[in-house]
């Protein structure tokens, strides 16, 4: 069974604003019947102010599709159309206290329905701009089509490349066989053969051009940019030490001992790798663990 948040369950069992909205003047129909989701979003928009006076939905879909639809209508009611268009799928997921990675597409569908409804109101034609593939990386919710397109567009040739460009495979690494299959397929298109042993060491060999101090400051800045997200979940992070490629951190508050700690650290590591342009490893400081243990006594 999916590990749905209480908020998701609550919105599924008692959906808000479901059913047909009489007098709707902005209607967005989106869906992917293959994947078992279809959503109609109906809005009543004030023609003077362009504010959304009422919103209702009808959804054919799973628990999280129905909950995402319900959440979307709650979020956008009272907003102006322009404000509503800024609502991202992450906002919908956050409103529901998160969705399992396999279910993030449900929140994407909500955002697309909104775009379709606004386009309908403004007399424009809305076109879906992405195709969805089978989920490959469960840690970071990345599907096969995104990986394929990235490999094709950037001439990638190794699993490491794919991790650096898409994050896919950067977590538990269970999906590396699938990523290799995608590489084999796309590289064959351009007449190359995938070689799993062609280890790309460029990044590692390249010495860091920053001084130690600059580098540590840079790491702190990056952590600073992540901090608000952690604090929103009542957690925090602090930099303990930097030893070559190993960055020691302390997870604080709700983050410490959280079941998602490993995933969070992987995400932070991916961000640091991306921004520093070098491979680094983020490790929870053992000193921190001792301190925590001491607190519990």
């Amino acid at each position: 069974m999916w590990d749905y948040s209480d908020k998701v369950k609550e919105h599924f069992f008692s959906p808000r604003n479901s059913g047909v909205l009489e007098g709707a003047n902005a209607v967005g129909d989106v869906g992917s019947i293959n994947c078992g989701d279809a959503l109609r979003l109906m809005l009543k928009v004030d023609s003077e102010t362009e504010s959304i006076q009422d919103a209702r939905f009808q959804t054919f879909g799973c628990g999280s599709a129905i909950a995402s639809s319900s959440a979307l209508t709650e979020i956008i009611k009272g907003m102006s159309l322009d404000e509503a268009l800024k609502v991202s799928n992450q906002d919908i997921a956050d409103y529901l206290d998160g969705l399992p990675p396999e279910k993030m597409h449900c929140s994407v569908m909500g955002r697309e329905a909104l775009q379709a409804a606004v386009a309908n109101y403004r007399g424009e034609e809305w076109k879906d701009d992405h195709e969805e593939g089978a989920l490959v990386c469960k840690c970071f919710a990345i599907d096969a089509i995104l990986i394929e397109e990235t490999v094709r567009a950037n001439n990638l040739s190794s699993v490491e490349d794919v991790i650096n460009y898409t994050k896919a495979g950067g977590g538990c690494s269970s999906c590396h066989e699938n990523i290799e299959e995608i590489l084999t397929k796309v590289m064959a298109e351009r007449g190359e053969t995938f070689n799993p042993h062609a280890v790309v060491l460029k990044e590692e060999e390249k010495p860091s051009k920053m001084t130690n101090l600059q580098r540590i400051k840079r790491i702190e800045t990056i952590l600073e940019s992540i901090r608000p997200q952690l604090q929103r979940d009542h957690g925090d992070i602090e930099l303990v030490d930097v030893d070559g490629k190993t960055i020691y951190v302390n997870m604080i508050g709700a983050c410490s001992g959280c079941q998602m700690e490993a995933v969070t650290l992987q995400g932070i590591q991916a961000k640091l790798i991306e921004d520093l342009g070098e491979f680094v490893k983020v490790v929870p400081s053992s000193a921190g663990s001792y301190a925590r243990a001491a607190c519990h006594v």
Binding site: S18, D29, S32, I33, F60, C62, A65, I66, E102
Partner: protein, 402 residues
């Protein structure tokens, strides 16, 4: 735990007597059956008994034809890979489009290694075309692997007939009988089936134990090599407690075979008829006249399976669904798609699978709850109007497909 468990094709409750039979072998008679001392000897004797209990249920001629494994999947892999290794010059495999992933995913992998796999298609009731099958039985085929009963619909395949056809063409025949063993009578000594897989946890034995039946004389190459366990055909210290549990579970399945095919079947039929009588736009999938006695798979049009399961779960009712969303994949069940069930129904399929523990009161309760749940979800569905499906649902709701 209170609740109505109608998901016995997924796994079953271990019978109390089975647990009791297993317990002494954890702490008192814990020896290694391969050992010379009496600690081991008693376990060895208990395994011998279990082997005979399994032999009895399968109607196998010899107890040495029973090889204990860790699960149905291991048995399937062992059987298919053994046949390929034993016939290295043969590069083709015959199976069906609606096998369990234990066979399908292996076959897809073997395709990448250069094997040609023929997937037999099914019709809208999930039935095979034996003429198509007959044409594929050529000397290039290393093995045929066809399930005895489908896990989603319960539809039975004519494996005995198919084994005879394969035998006549000199091709080894394997059947994944994980869903069939314990629910339908099996008599292997009077069949031409060469290999059969079963899984303990589908018949009230624990998880983590399975069996590969290997007819005497069938050429065999082990998957795991090592010690002499299972006469060198499956190395690794025996999962003694679970094997002993499986033995008793097989004996009990034998005793309940008639009950399964009369009383359990009656409850299943009552459940299905009760739901279909009250819910419009719903139908039973598969070959309803020729299926396992405990399984009913119902497609509810215009609503999605995971949503149904979540609401059923709220009422304490456990079932399963062929919807894409329950697995995290994008496609609904390959079995439903192979039968040509349209997407709007395939996503709304629910499988109820009963057992000898299921009661009349439970069936009555599910018949009462399901129509409410379906109505509640249809009210949310853009494909559903006030009282029935939106007229011409395709036109009423034509989304921009992602």
């Amino acid at each position: 735990m209170d609740g109505i468990y109608f998901d016995n094709n997924a796994t079953t409750r271990v019978d109390d007597a089975v647990v009791a039979a297993m317990l002494p072998f954890f702490t008192e008679q814990f020896g290694n059956p391969s050992s010379m001392h009496s600690f081991g000897n008693k376990v060895g004797l208990a395994l011998k008994k279990a082997r005979m209990q399994v032999q009895e249920l399968l109607g196998a001629e010899h107890d040495s034809e029973i090889i204990f494994t860790s699960c149905g999947t291991e048995s399937d892999s062992t059987a298919i890979l053994s046949a390929l290794k034993a016939n290295p010059e043969r590069k083709e495999i015959i199976t069906t489009t609606i096998e369990h992933p234990a066979v399908l995913a292996l076959c897809e992998h073997l395709e990448k290694e250069g094997y040609k796999v023929h997937y037999l298609k099914v019709d809208n009731k999930g039935r095979l075309d034996l003429d198509e099958y007959a044409k594929l039985l050529t000397p290039q085929v290393a093995v045929v692997s066809v399930m005895w009963a489908n896990n989603e619909t319960g539809t039975l395949f004519p494996v005995e007939r198919m084994a005879e056809m394969a035998h006549a063409a000199g091709i080894p025949f394997h059947t994944d009988a994980v869903q069939a063993v314990g629910k339908v009578p099996i008599d292997l000594k009077n069949s031409k089936i060469d290999m059969l897989s079963l899984s303990g946890h589908k018949l009230h034995a624990p998880k983590g134990v399975g069996v590969l039946y290997l007819r005497r004389g069938v050429r065999f190459r082990p998957l795991l090599r090592g010690g002499h366990q299972e006469r060198g055909r499956r190395a690794g210290t025996e999962n003694a407690t679970s094997i002993i549990g499986l033995g008793l579970a097989c004996e009990q399945a034998m005793q309940h075979m008639e009950y399964e095919n009369t009383e359990v079947k009656r409850l299943r039929d009552k459940l299905e008829a009760g739901i279909l009588a009250q819910v419009p736009r719903a139908f039973a999938t598969g070959d309803v006249g020729n299926r396992l006695p405990n399984t009913s798979n119902i497609a509810f049009e215009f609503i999605e399976g995971e949503a149904i399961l979540l609401l059923l779960n709220k009422f304490g009712i456990a079932a399963s669904s062929g919807s894409a969303c329950t697995s995290g994949s994008l496609e609904p069940s390959h079995v439903m798609r192979a039968m040509g069930i349209p997407y709007t129904a395939a996503h709304g399929t629910i499988r109820f699978s009963l057992s000898r523990y299921s009661t009349e009161a439970e069936v009555d309760r599910v018949i009462q709850v399901v129509p409410e749940i379906v109505a509640q979800l249809r009210k949310l569905s853009p494909y559903w109007g006030e009282t029935g499906p939106a007229e011409e649902p395709d036109k009423a709701f034509a989304p921009v497909y992602a």
